[in-house]
Subunit: 198 residues, 2 copies
DNA sequence: ACACATACTGAGGCATCCTCAGGTTAGAGG
DNA sequence: CCTCTAACCTGAGGATGCCTCAGTATGTGT
């Protein structure tokens, strides 16, 4: 559990390898969207027109396929955090980022669980990205706290607990109705400053 | 999905049937505790000293076994809600009940997902109990709102979203560290009344 | 003691996971 | 253009788990 390589899938060198890698990734995104992170790997391989062994060659564990399928989205999220950091409205920036984060975390069923796991386990494909995201979120939080807009005793860890929880609730009700904006507003109003007796 | 019988497991009539039913239930509780709600049913049957067919006879679907294994705990929760309803401190009562609820929801990994599902799907073994619990929680919420202690625009549905989210976060980190008291305090302070601009 | 509803058994079909021994091929170096 | 090899691909197969069902056993009321 705590040992082993992170299994970060890297684009292969040979042309046929890249072709298959991309085909698998495309099929995986479709399958995850439809069936969640527990989608059948054999089916994904079949959809990609590739033998099961090929899938395992590129993505030795399920989490590495999930990582590859969501890497870009996470990277966007991190980039967005940096951009928002210079906003004149730290609370608005935090709110916007939180909404984006929750939306991405619940791209498909099961994702938020994998990400929550990755956040604190280095031996995990998504650890690096999660770590970057953690810092991005923490920076935005700190800015909002420095402006006195968010309660000072809220830690980044707690922020991500709240975000994960909200994302999990969202992924439960998808795709019928999405109450997450309302839920997130509740959370947000809950963490903004006010006088509260000990 | 929306059809079918609820599959509520009922104690069988014959003596050997009851014996096996109980043995399966005991093995299931142990297995769920250890491996979560996805524990191997064949292993549970083996631990109970019973053939796999016997398990399926008593518990036609996995959710019915989960339901039977958690029925008492949920019933306690409902009973406790009724008791707390006469408390002179509605906010304290709500807080205490919420803590109990979160603790029960995260008895083992996967439970809160099943309960969240059951809450709104009648064709589900746990639906009846979840419904009772929903009413219990809603009553406590209304009492706290009537006393002006909790924001009036919070719906029971939202309350359970918050509870489920907190429970999910808790079940993720179990059993190493349990940050749920802290998280729940955050949520609670977030839903208590104050002036907030539109 | 008898009948039969109730209950038990476990083989077996199916889906999925994951590995690995063996075959194929892209493409660098000559 | 040829050779060679690392990179890549294949798919059979062992393992596990799900769930069903035809056949068998037994508790219990009469």
């Amino acid at each position: 559990m705590t040992t082993g390589t992170p299994h970060i899938a890297q684009r292969p060198k040979r042309a046929d390898g890249r072709r298959n890698y991309d085909a698998i990734l495309a099929a995986a995104r479709k399958a995850f969207e439809a069936d969640g992170s527990e989608a059948s790997l054999e089916n994904i391989a079949a959809q990609a027109g590739v033998a099961i062994g090929t899938l395992y060659r590129h993505f030795p564990v399920r989490a590495s396929l999930v990582e590859a399928a969501t890497r870009d989205g996470l990277a966007d999220l991190v980039a967005h955090a940096e951009r928002l950091l210079s906003s004149p409205d730290p609370l608005g920036a935090l709110a916007e980022w939180m909404e984006r984060a929750v939306r991405h975390f619940s791209t498909f069923r099961g994702l938020v669980g994998i990400l929550a796991q990755s956040m604190y386990d280095e031996g995990t494909p998504s650890y690096a990205m999660c770590n970057a995201m953690h810092h991005g979120g923490a920076d935005l939080l700190r800015a909002a706290q420095a402006a006195g807009l968010v309660r000072a005793d809220l830690t980044p860890g707690e922020l991500f607990d709240l975000l994960s929880g909200a994302a999990w609730v969202r992924e439960q009700s998808l795709p019928d109705r999405d109450d997450s904006p309302r839920l997130l507003r509740l959370v947000l109003e809950g963490i903004t400053t006010r006088d509260h007796r000990s």
